[in-house]
Symmetry: C2
Subunit: 339 residues, 2 copies
DNA sequence: TATCAACACGAAACCGTTTTCGCTTATTGT
DNA sequence: ACAATAAGCGAAAACGGTTTCGTGTTGATA
C-alpha cells in the first residue's frame, strides 16, 4: 500500500519549498524551466494528485452538488438524476444524492448534513410530507446562508429560488383534450391529494379541458388517493361504482393497474375505454396495451436544473432575479388510446 | 444573507481563544461551567455548525462513500442505491453517486475524481465495457492506496476486495428447474454476451439444470444479445426460427418484450408457454400476465455492501482477509408460469 | 565599481478545525 | 508563609493546499 503523496513530500525529496512545488505544478512563470521539469517529472512518477479536501477548504468550493429527492425507485426521478449527473459531470462536479423517502424529517436532516460545507448548492424536489405540512423553513435557511437552491418538479411558491417544472396543467389539459377529441364523454381522473403541487396542477388541467368543451365536471369521477402507494381497493371500488369511457391517471402505476382491472371485466382497451398516464417509463412502453402518456422529460429537467445551479454557484454576484423554467410536456401516443 | 459563523468569530465576540471555544462546545472538562454556558448559548443563538470540510481535512475522514454504477434508470441498481443510502445514512455517511453509463473511461474518470480525498471508500458495480476489456487497473490502484472497495453484483476475480453478489447460477438453476418441473421440454434462454459476469453465471445455471435432468442442451435455443439494450429484431427472428415451450430471460425487459411477441402470435401464457425473468421490478409486477421472476434483492445487497464498506473504513487495521457475501435469489411466482 | 532590475525561490498567512502542551492563577497542605 | 497541586485557559502545530510578499543572487548598466 503506497500512501498518497503530498506537496510536502515532493518538497522534502527535491529539497525545495512547498510553495515552489505548488507553483511548479501550476507551470508558474515564477519558476525556472529546470525546476519545473524536475518537479513535474517527480510528480508524474509518483502519481501526485492534489487533495480535493484541502483545495475545498482553501477556496471554499467543493465542486459537489447536493441532490435531495423523495425516492429513487421511481423512473421519473432516476431520469432527473441522470440529467443532473450528465451536466454536472461535464462541468467537473460530483453529485451527492440523498433520499428523503417522502419524509419531512429526513429531508431536513439531509439538507443540514450537506449544508455545512459539503456542497456548493442544492437541487431538490419536495417530499410529499413537506408539501403537506407546508413547512419550508429548512429551505429558507439554506438560501439565507447564500447557498444556491434549484427546486425541480415538486416546488413551492413560498421559497425564493430558481425552479424547473413541467407545465403539469398543460399536460393534463392536452391529455384530456385528446380524450375528448376521441369522443369520450365520461372521463375519469385518478390522482393523489392536492397538497402535492403536481397533482393539483394536473387536476386543474383536467378541469380546464372539460370546461372548455362544455362538459360537466362530475366530482364522483375524480378519485383522490391519499398516498403515492397503490391503494388497490379504492381503485377497484371506484371502477365498480362508476361507469367511465376514459381515464387519466397521474402516474404509470395507477394507469397500468387500472387497465388490468378493466381488462379483467372484459372491457376492451382502447375500443371501449381509453387510458392516458403520466411519466414515459418502462411500464408505459411495455404494458399491454402500451400506454399513451404525458412525457415529463425528466432528464432535460435535470440538465436544466444543474445548469441553473452551476451558473449561480459560479457567478455568485447576481443573487436574486430568480427564474422558473417551465418545460412543455409531450403526449406520447401508444395503444391505450385510439389513434 | 447571514454568512456561516466560525469558531474564530465566536472567539472574537466572546474574547476567548479559539481553542477554548472548540473545547467548550465539546463540553470539555477543562473549561469552566461559566465559560461553557456562555459559549454554548452564543453558538446556539447564531446557529453554529462546524464546517465539514475542515473536519474532514483534520481527521482524514470525509464521511462520504462513493458509489459508481453503470446506470441508474434500471430498477435493480436503484434498489441497490436505496439499500446503500439506508445503511450509510444511519451511520452518518453521505452517498456520492457517479454513473459510468457502461463506459470504461467514465468509470475511470469518476473513480479518479473521487479517490483524491473526496470519499472514504467505494462501492461499485462494473460497467459492461470494463468487463469486456478486462482492465481493472483503476480498481487495483484504488485498493493499493488503501481505499476500501466493495464490488457488488458485477464483480471480477482479478481484484482483491470485499464483494457482494447473488448466486446467479443458482437463480437460473432454480428457474430452469421450475420450468422443467412443469413439464417444459424446449426451454430457451435469452441472455447477453458472456463477458458480463452475471450473464455467464446465469447461463451456467441454466445448463446445469438441463444436464441434471438429462435434457439435451440445444445451443440454438440460447440467444445471446450483444448489448443491454433491446434488440427487438433479433428476438423476433429467434422466435420465428425456434419452437419453444418455456423461456428464461436475464432481465425484465427481454421477458416482457418476448411475451408480447408470443401473445401476438396467439400463443397463450402460461398455458402453452411459460416465462421467467430476472429482477423483481415494476414491470414484473404490472406486466400482463404478471411475471414470475428471480428476485435479486438489490436493496439487501446495497445494505450489506454499505455495511462491509463502513466496517472496513472504521477498522482500517484488518486489511486483507476479504470476504465475498453470496445472497440467495428467490423465485417470485406469478402468472407467467403455471402455478 | 556601484546600482538596479529581473529572476528564482522561500517564508508565512490563510481556509476552519482539533488537540497537545505549557502557562497563569488560585487553592490546599504543612 | 511557602511549596505543591489543580483548575482554566491560550499558543501553536497540524491537516494539504494556494497565494502574497519578501529576499538573495545574478547580470546588465551607468
Amino acid at each position: 500500500m503506497k500512501a498518497k503523496i503530498t506537496l510536502k513530500d515532493i518538497a522534502r525529496e527535491l529539497e525545495v519549498s512547498i510553495s515552489t512545488v505548488s507553483k511548479a505544478l501550476k507551470n508558474s512563470e515564477e519558476i525556472s524551466r529546470d525546476t519545473k521539469e524536475k518537479v513535474q517529472a517527480f510528480a508524474k512518477l509518483y502519481n501526485y494528485k492534489p487533495n480535493n479536501i484541502a483545495i475545498s477548504l482553501k477556496n471554499k468550493r467543493t465542486k459537489n452538488i447536493g441532490v435531495v429527492i423523495p425516492a429513487i425507485v421511481h423512473h421519473f426521478f432516476t431520469t432527473v438524476i441522470r440529467g443532473i449527473e450528465k451536466h454536472a459531470n461535464a462541468k467537473g462536479y460530483n453529485v451527492i444524492v440523498c433520499l428523503s423517502e417522502e419524509s419531512f424529517d429526513r429531508e431536513v436532516i439531509n439538507m443540514e448534513m450537506l449544508a455545512n460545507g459539503s456542497i456548493d448548492g442544492f437541487i431538490m424536489s419536495l417530499s410529499s410530507e413537506t408539501q403537506r405540512k407546508g413547512d419550508y423553513n429548512h429551505l429558507k435557511e439554506v438560501t439565507e446562508q447564500g447557498i444556491p437552491l434549484v427546486l425541480v418538479d415538486r416546488v413551492t411558491n413560498e421559497v425564493d429560488c430558481d425552479k424547473v417544472i413541467i407545465d403539469d396543467e398543460l399536460g393534463a389539459y392536452m391529455a384530456t383534450k385528446k380524450l375528448i377529441g376521441q369522443g369520450r364523454k365520461k372521463i375519469a381522473l385518478i390522482t393523489t391529494d392536492d397538497y402535492l403541487s403536481v397533482s393539483k396542477a394536473r387536476t386543474g388541467g383536467y378541469r380546464k379541458a372539460l370546461l372548455e368543451s362544455n362538459m360537466e365536471i362530475d366530482e364522483k369521477r375524480i378519485l383522490k388517493l391519499s398516498s403515492m402507494e397503490m391503494d388497490e381497493k379504492s381503485i377497484e371500488d371506484f371502477f365498480n361504482k362508476n361507469s367511465v369511457d376514459a381515464v387519466l391517471c397521474v402516474n404509470e402505476i395507477f394507469t397500468v393497474y387500472s387497465m388490468r382491472l378493466i381488462q379483467k371485466k372484459g372491457i376492451r382497451i382502447p375500443d371501449d375505454i381509453s387510458f392516458i398516464g403520466f411519466t414515459d417509463g418502462l411500464l408505459s412502453k411495455y404494458a399491454n396495451p402500451s400506454l399513451t402518456v404525458v412525457a415529463q422529460h425528466g432528464e432535460k429537467m435535470g440538465e436544466i436544473a444543474a445548469q441553473m445551479l452551476i451558473d449561480r454557484v459560479e457567478n455568485e454576484n447576481d443573487e436574486g432575479n430568480y427564474q422558473t423554467k417551465i418545460l412543455e410536456p409531450t403526449l406520447v401516443v401508444r395503444d391505450s388510446t385510439i389513434n
